[in-house]
Symmetry: C2
Subunit: 350 residues, 2 copies
Amino acid sequence: TRTIKLAVVAGDGIGPEVVAEGLKVLDVALAGSDVRVERTPFDLGAARWHRTGETLTDEDLAAIREHDAILLGAIGDPTVPSGVLERGLLLKLRFALDHYVNLRPSTLYPGVPTPLADPGDVDFVVVREGTEGPYVGNGGAIRVGTPHEVANEVSVNTAFGVERVVRDAFARAQARPRKKLTLVHKHNVLVHAGHLWRRTVEAVGAEFPDVAVDYLHVDAATIFLVTNPARFDVIVTDNLFGDILTDLAAAISGGIGLAASGNINPDRTTPSMFEPVHGSAPDIAGQGKADPTATVLSVALMLEHLGLTDEARRISDAVAADIAERDGTARSTSAVGDALAAGVADRVPA
Amino acid sequence: TRTIKLAVVAGDGIGPEVVAEGLKVLDVALAGSDVRVERTPFDLGAARWHRTGETLTDEDLAAIREHDAILLGAIGDPTVPSGVLERGLLLKLRFALDHYVNLRPSTLYPGVPTPLADPGDVDFVVVREGTEGPYVGNGGAIRVGTPHEVANEVSVNTAFGVERVVRDAFARAQARPRKKLTLVHKHNVLVHAGHLWRRTVEAVGAEFPDVAVDYLHVDAATIFLVTNPARFDVIVTDNLFGDILTDLAAAISGGIGLAASGNINPDRTTPSMFEPVHGSAPDIAGQGKADPTATVLSVALMLEHLGLTDEARRISDAVAADIAERDGTARSTSAVGDALAAGVADRVPA
Ligand SMILES: CC(C)[C@H](C(=O)O)[C@@H](O)C(=O)O
Ligand SMILES: CC(C)[C@H](C(=O)O)[C@@H](O)C(=O)O
């Protein structure tokens, strides 16, 4: 029997609701297998901060490190000053656990509504750098609140950091049928960071001669995402551009309710973290209205990362089948979870 | 007789082709009026750089300053290292002439193809800050080309710079029927810059009590641009977010061939600069394939800025009428220019 130690960070807003469904499906996916999951819930997020003033202590982090993976719901709440939980908890986890590959696949399942009139075949994955760029928190301000305030934000990009994520993206592109990698940046303006990314893609690309490479400025990339998303196979980009592109990618491929992600440390020296791309959606929290599909698909990404590919496939197949039958009728969070769990159960060999 | 001194920077790629049509329409729009245009062409861009190594000299800039407005085609060429012309010429003009309002309207004209299945009423304007943010050129790199390279880019945001553009955006929102302003930023991550923007919008908003204000993170804004663009009236945002959002906005409202922009100094201490949002498109340059409509609409923005509102309206009406009749048949750059000029001529009172 293999035991997977899973840290569960349900978090804020709709986080607990969608995570409950993710775990429900996970249990079904592993039922009858020789894999068992040992879950540890972590009380992190707005409630904890209000109670204790803490976001993520050294002890929390040390305890989380003892796990094989993390399932996270959503972080962020309007009652907490903007940035406190995002920087102090969500991004702290990504940075401290060195999740340098933020993996965000976009597939438009048949039958799924999209705002695009003629989307074509949408099936790409964004490899978003997760530990550098404008997300490093190296900003500051002087004379705050006066007419002479200056507020700076620094994007930090290192050869070490860029090379490892670019290498990962090339490997993913090589493993896909189309073998195509698109670097997205803005090197005509952000010349120093941009040229580092560009040179790195060129250098690492020499090791992957069968992968076709192209480049788009981030502004142009948004155009293609709505006019010809089928042109994309693997996109590699920095932390902020990746944040923006993946929300847009989610919007065109069925909406943020379906977008899964993995914050991955490919070196496996720390637990990787799986979470829906959507946020805590406080406006609908606690009402059973949230779509748990993105969390369920994140569970599939997690199983894949853990080497449980058959189990992962059963989940994504069940999701695809369920989605194909959706007709716009509203279902509760748990009803969707039940349906997906049933679909997985149907696919588990007796 | 009023004389308008117009600096013409045709630039690279398709720039000269589209500018020729813009000037053609401009002439027709002013024919029979008491306004005459005195044009000075400026030889700036890739050809000049190859010949002399210069991008924009102090003398060029001093000469340009003597004008009432600038019409610019496009800057950028694959034969010049990335960033040289963009930073050394285009952005240098925007920064040196303190074009702090980069005005980019998005209107989906009736009959215009859009990638969206159900776009609704698209009619908004992005007020993109033009002189700060990650565009300031305050980046640098150490150990370039080694495994220890670190490349930084600094986004600089000042109370002075943010307040003036936010004030301009509020005034524009107040002058529009819907009176709605959306701030787009990413204040949960870029906390210092983001909070400066947020506080500024709150403070300036007190002077515009009839303007409704909301806020979106930049990632969420891209979602709404494809799922519900009709929700936007005026967007105010920073230089980089504005760059990204306006390409996406162009894509959903008829494509980059229709997107006009003004780099405006509302204080009128320097000439403002009008240019299509599209780039130099070297792949189709010299073939008479470029759509000059965005440049023609930029001429309309210019006339409006110069107080020639009737003349401006005639151009945008002629464009709307021409667009409504487009059926996808390819027309040459000059054929489109001729048609638009004829449409304007029809609208000029005898
Ligand atoms: C909540 C926020 C900090 C986060 C990000 O910007 O990375 C979110 O938008 C995401 O994409 O996971
Ligand atoms: C060419 C480039 C420097 C420019 C920008 O980023 O501002 C362009 O994309 C634009 O939007 O006008």
